[in-house]
Amino acid sequence: MRSRLYPVFKYTMIALWACFVAGPFFWAMTTSFKDVNGVQGGATYLPWLQYEPTVVGWRNIFGGAGGVDVMRPFFNSAVVTVAASAVSLVLGSLAAYALSRYRFKLGFIKNSDIVFFFVSQRIMPPVVLVIPFFYLLQWTGLLDTVLGLVIVTVALLLPIAVWVMVDFFNGIPREIDEMAMLDGCGPFQTFVRAILPNSLPGLTVAAMFCVVFGWNDFFFAFRLTFTEVQTLPQAVVALNSSIPPWWTLSAAALFGVAPLILLALRVERYLSKGNLSGAVR
């Protein structure tokens, strides 16, 4: 492998995979500047050379005539994602801290079982939950409301927050807690003043996962909200169901995934620093 061919092999593989990864984005980008003429004649890729670019797709999604409005769904998605993530992070960190620092024993149930209970909720397929949730929200009058959607989304995100944070807290020496208590902090003060300030990398990773899974959820929103609270994935998929105006669909799709791509650029260094490694072991 140390031969001179190795770098050639290496960068070829990287380049091939990079093309595959970037391909759909490139396609969506180029398609979003087409119109009927650019689409109907078969696949084209390069503006000006192969088709005449227009901004009609982009105009459509920002309330242009005959288009759809993406701002309201965008806003709904943002509210639900941020609220559910915040609730999950707060409750998750507290629970994770308890599970990392104290020993629980209730009959045969121990700490690891409680952690497993949290994390195992990820195994629940949304489709299994969504029917009971439908009736639950209907009976409580929360169907098609932001609050209702936030509550069920917490069920999706809380396990992630607990999963990441338990392992992160396990990596912080217990002596720091002990020292804070000796220094006069009660248990809650210890958590807030001594542990949380040292947990920013872990919180960042947990927050990122919560936001990703919250923002990208489709099934709950699809079945539990309809007209009042449409989220962005719903709006995009709704466009797909009709005869596809591909340019509008592409523009809306790019608009929908852009926030998280920007997020990825910002938090990459936290992710690759190996902050997650504890969580995987």
Binding site: M179, L182, G186, Q189
Partner: protein, 362 residues
Amino acid sequence: MNLSATDLCLTVDGVDHLKDVSATFVPGRLHAVIGRTMAGKTTLLRVLAGLQGVDSGALTRQGADFLKTPVWRRDTAMVYQQFINYPHLDVFDNVAFPLKRAGLARDEIRRRVTDSLARVGLADFERRKPSQLSGGQQQRVALARALARGTGILLLDEPLANLDYKLREQLRDEFRTLFSDQGDTVVIYTTTEPAEAMMLGDVVLVMHEGRILQTGSPQEVFERPATTTVASIINDPPMNIFTGRIGSGQVTVAGFQATHVSAHLADLPDGTYRFGLRATDVGLASAGVEGEVTFVEISGSETFVHVAVGETPFVVQIEGIHDVALGDLVKLRLRPERLFAFDEEGTLQRTPSYDLTSVEGR
């Protein structure tokens, strides 16, 4: 203001961490707890700090039940063996942290922080993060934080164990000054090193397998070790312990020529004894019993030569640094007037006398 422990017991997974530990810790004195690793020293400190519960026993302070007091109200500071500081705070804020918790005024906090940082020699490091400091400096920060509060109880858990030996030597000297005036504070200091306990302690407590074996002044414990176990813990290298006989005015130790019983052993009845002899009281000589050198260690300014005489191992301490090759045959001479005599259960019977010109040190 005394801190009194009565019959503290703690068993974890069938192992005794504390076994019938009773002790009274007095304000203004430094209590050096010496024992090997796993002797229960750290557990004892953690129980006193409230970080660890016990199975049974009592702990009182000023007559009140201290076991019921939560950690954060125990008025206790602790310095760990590992250099533990708040990673997110700089040196100043680390030291100020407990003072802020105690609700002191800003000026008072600044005064105390500056003062205690100066005492540990870190006056110019206020705005550094702990990660930017060397191990020795980090431990000084921890010490400054403990001192700044002026708590009623100060616990130090082998604070020098993780430092280079030169730094250890230096801080040990500084500690003598730092802890010389502790007013009303109960100071408890654990260590595995006899020299450290002897040098710093006003009172020495010897721990082994969760029990306190002996309590007394350094001089007392060193010169009158109650058992063979204490004798080997309070000496570095451990005291040579071997079996011998006293009979018809002669002391016989396997492999060695019988010698006259020296004065301090003269009144012991005939029989088999365990004898103890410090490494400094065994010498390499031109004549004596032959043994083989199994290992040579150099510690500070001393050479420890491990010699096997038949099956019995001896350690010989020679001042200065000497080149002795492994496998060499050397001759040993024991100083019979320095023999400690223990009975076969290991309880002290007679000690050599030290009362030549002895003046209370310090």
